[in-house]
């Protein structure tokens, strides 16, 4: 009973946190873009526009929902949920902190204790393609279909690089358990970013392609495809796609922080209390989240053939070479054991 209560509490906290971060990201996106263009951004709803996501959410709920003629209704309704769900599920395996002792019970600060966290995470990120391509196909619109196809082609090709870079980290720490990966980099000197700089750069860039963000946002390439796979969506289902996108960004940012920057470990303060650890993870993930926005308002969009060339001819070989080199080093240094 007690274990169930703890699990429910964790689910509620993580879910609420994810939705809050996604909402704040939608505000941050508009604020950051405004600042970079000498504007103010939304500042009318609440102090500094902090309640803008709430107002947006309310508006989305009250809007009429349109289903295009000839659309596959079941798939059309299911797809946004399929897009948002995997991103949120992934958060379950990310260790938010160490363990807390509340009322005499030791509670690990991650939703699940599975020791193949990395594997779970990768399979979930593979699932997120379905939401995109089903949404594009079920809409019965050429723009949606093209957007969905592009998005899925892109996500599948970049997933290879993503997995290979993660594998290099897994090789170094010798475990598929994210908590073990965190435990292996408690000090700043042990952070994987120093041992895997190439993997870090590749992971960061691939992150953008994986979440369909600028400069790789071919799924919603406005000049060519109107709105991409979500062209025909309206109301809360449209918002659900964006919730999914922001959640995926949050998860990948947390993952980047976990894999390369030591997750919830605090630099130069090994005995930090647990809440500082959580804040530390949030700060690290926050940097990556900011990077998403920063890059979006800096770089122009690539061409689709450039994207594919970059993915298959540059990133994949580099990631393979990196994995090979890492494997060789690990084999020669730890092989004797």
């Amino acid at each position: 009973m007690e274990a169930l209560l703890i699990a429910v509490a964790k689910v509620v906290v993580i879910f609420a946190g994810m939705v809050t971060i996604a909402g704040l990201m939608s505000l941050a996106e508009r604020k950051v873009s405004a600042w970079m263009q000498y504007r103010h951004g939304p500042n009318r709803v609440g102090p500094f526009g902090i309640l803008q996501p709430l107002a947006d959410g309310l508006k989305f709920i009250f809007k009429e929902e349109l289903v295009p003629e000839g659309a596959n209704r079941l798939m059309f309704r299911l797809a946004p949920a399929l897009a948002a769900m995997p991103a949120m599920l992934t958060m379950a395996v990310i260790p938010v902190g160490g363990t807390v002792v509340i009322a005499g019970r030791e509670i690990p600060l991650s939703m699940t204790d599975i020791d193949i966290g990395v594997l779970f995470l990768l399979s979930m990120s593979g699932l997120s393609v379905y939401g995109v391509i089903l949404g594009g196909w079920a809409s019965n619109s050429k723009y949606s279909l093209l957007g969905g196809l592009r998005a899925s082609a892109q996500m599948i090709s970049y997933e290879l690089t993503l997995i290979l870079t993660i594998l290099a980290v897994v090789l170094l720490s010798g475990s598929l358990d994210l908590r073990a990966i965190v435990a292996a980099q408690q000090h700043v000197g042990q952070w994987n970013i120093w041992y895997q700089p190439l993997a870090f750069v590749l992971f960061t860039i691939t992150m953008f392609a994986e979440t369909n963000r600028h400069p790789f946002d071919f799924a919603e390439c406005e000049p060519e495809l109107v709105g991409g796979f979500h062209t025909e969506y309206s109301s809360m289902r449209f918002a659900l796609y964006f919730l999914g996108e922001y959640c995926a960004m949050t998860v990948l940012s947390c993952l980047a922080a976990t894999l390369f920057l030591g997750g919830p470990s605090v630099p130069f303060w090994p005995a930090a209390p647990w809440y500082v650890g959580v804040l530390s993870l949030l700060a690290k993930a926050g940097f990556f989240l900011y990077l998403f926005l920063w890059v979006r308002w800096t770089l122009p969009r690539l061409r689709f053939d450039q994207l594919m060339r970059l993915g298959w001819k540059v990133f994949l070989p580099l990631a393979l070479l990196n994995l090979l080199a890492t494997g060789a080093v690990v084999a020669f240094t730890h092989g004797a054991q």
Binding site: W35, W297, T298
Partner: protein, 173 residues
């Protein structure tokens, strides 16, 4: 005919990443610059005597409008925004407007009425805001157009100064 010389990219430029970082540094610096946006209702527009806002009727210091309802502004108005009905009065000028309406939705703020007026009775004020919930409410009548002379004094002085040069040039010819 210009010939576009293709620039040979250096290795760093072809690697793309250094250039990306350069671009990022630019946008980061721009983030902290002062926004150009004017927060309009809180920060009103700058107004000078040159500002050509909505036309208003001058009320002289004795409390009467300067207008004698001659109809010059009505004739000059290119948008047919002005409607005047004249009437008699006991004052020495004998005529005054009974009805004086400007349809603010028609008015194009050109200032021709101000130029046409022989009695210095109509001037362009610095009032620019125009909003209401019906079209009828935006047809301003005599009472809504009246402004004390002091409120328009800066504009009046400006128009006099502007007209001064015509007086000079006409005297020489």
């Amino acid at each position: 005919m210009g010939i576009v010389q293709r620039k040979d990219l250096s290795l760093a430029e072809r690697l793309y990443l250094p250039e990306v970082v350069r671009g990022l540094s630019i946008t980061f610096r721009k983030m902290f610059e002062k926004p150009m946006t004017r927060q309009y209702p809180e920060e009103p527009l700058p107004k000078t005597e040159v500002t050509r806002g909505q036309p208003r009727l001058v009320v002289k210091d004795d409390g009467n409008v300067a207008c004698v309802s001659c109809g010059m502004c009505e004739a000059a108005c290119p948008a047919y925004a002005i409607t005047i009905d004249g009437g008699e009065t006991e004052r020495p000028i004998e005529r005054e407007p009974v009805r004086f309406e400007i349809d603010m939705l028609r008015c194009i703020l050109c200032g021709f009425c101000e130029e046409a007026c022989p009695k210095d009775a109509i001037f362009m004020s610095d009032e620019l805001e125009l909003a209401d919930s019906s079209r009828g409410a935006l047809v301003y009548d005599l009472e809504m157009l009246k402004r004390p002379k002091a409120a328009l004094q800066k504009r009046i002085d400006y128009v006099y100064r502007l007209n001064q040069r015509w007086r000079k040039s006409s005297s020489t010819s």
